[in-house]
Amino acid sequence: MALDHRRVPGPEESQAPLLYAAPGEAGTDAPGREAAALRPLLARAGLLSQAEGSAYVELAGGTKVLCAVRGPREAAEGRGRLLCEFRRAPFSVRGARPRPGPATAARERELGLALQEALAPAVRLARYPRARLELTALVLQDGGSALAAALSAAALALADAGVEMFDLVVGCGLCRAPGPGGAWLLQPSEAEERAAAARLTVALMPGLNQVAGLLGSGQGGPPESWAQAVRLGLEGCQRLYPVLRRSLLRAAERRAAEGPRAVGASA
């Protein structure tokens, strides 16, 4: 077969460089981390002018999520629907840009569904017959606990859009450190999450004390360990709640200072 001389032929087989890394080299996690420590959280609601509601949540250590809500829009028929989309920006993860494909799309759809199922109990959808609310969460940078941050941001964005809700939803991520007897860590960083034996995301409606969402998997652990993780996560959510509430209040104040929204302004 004639060779194509315009190309530099690469090696016939390629291997992942990680195989040659000495064992233990990758595990450079921060020593002496307190299990129940939360990462500082920055939340800001109402920062996009094009969407009806929006919110931005950032966790110290590099998780950045932007969330926008559009609607309520008229839908063809049926009950009110909440449509959620979870997206990762192509530049959000470390290393090579993830190749878009059916596998990536399926994974994003799973998280979108998790988002929708966790927000549905909080939103009074019965008040929006024949309408749909569209929510998009965009992960700008994934530094661990991305789904949890997206959950908090989504609830803020919905509240910012003036959608009737029973309560806010607060998300909190957890992971279990590898090895036997590994402890559960709150709001893990990306490195911790990658090395973890099990991961869990908890969503809570703090005012009503109802669990809105749970999604977790990993190495088998006894039910007691998972129960402890849920408890720890719920506690974390309660601690995050004041921060989110304050950001919502601040957005309302800012809007009040700007004066009433121009009626009939371009959407």
Binding site: E13, Q15, A114, Q210, G218, Q219, G220, W226
Partner: protein, 291 residues
Amino acid sequence: MASVVLSEAEKVYVVHGVQEDLRVDGRGCEDYRCIEVETDVVSNTSGSARVKLGHTDILVGVKAEMGTPKLENPNEGYLEFFVDCSANATPEFEGRGGEELATEIVNTLYRIFSSESTIDVKSLCINPREHCWVLYVDVLLLECGGNLFDAISIAVKAALFNTRIPKVRVLEDEEGSKEIELSDDPYDCIRLNVDNVPCIITLSKIGCRHVVDATLQEEACSLASLLLSVTSRGTFTCMKKLGNGSLDPESIFEMMETGKRVGKTLHASLQKILDKEESLGTTRQKVGFLG
């Protein structure tokens, strides 16, 4: 998903029944419907199983094909899941109608099999970096009558138990080129160890109690359910809230206790059935869909 429409009165009837630990079909809250399991129903697969749980009917076929290992795990084989929500189950699934549900099920299956202890994928490797077995686990949904996830996980476990992968040898000649030789004896094959394969237990919250193995009617009355994947030792590998409702924290802990208890019993009885079928060997009368 296929769903039924219930009137308010019917819902009240179901909820009140559950409160008294008596369900519409006479079961208690922690009872499963009768489960029929039959393995080796499709002869051109490496392993197959059909599970009938009430009106839910699942057929799973496992095909082993040779492929190349993934770059990040050069000495492991892998599993691929595919779910076909066939229009047989409900006309809504015609064309691409079933894809949404199929993706949800596939994602859940990947999630419960994500832990490396579930299946010994290293035994699926033929020679590192070059050849491995890829197990295509294809789930075919023939009828849905509630509690799909549990039935699918049981069928997948039974089909993996039934899977026989031919033994191959790698021959290397002087020039270093490798050749793969299939064993002559068709009975000379690898079996998978399925002791650590979990089963899904879905607990549906109805009123202030929870039930296992909900029928379609009961699913219509339940706002939220908790999906747990439980191994035979009673450990959890996945948990997930399903549905558009919320759960009280205390009830989650109760559901986890129930899940562990029910899961252990389910695994024990499933293993018993599988071992019994195995011991009958070729003398077993195959029933399939004709029974």
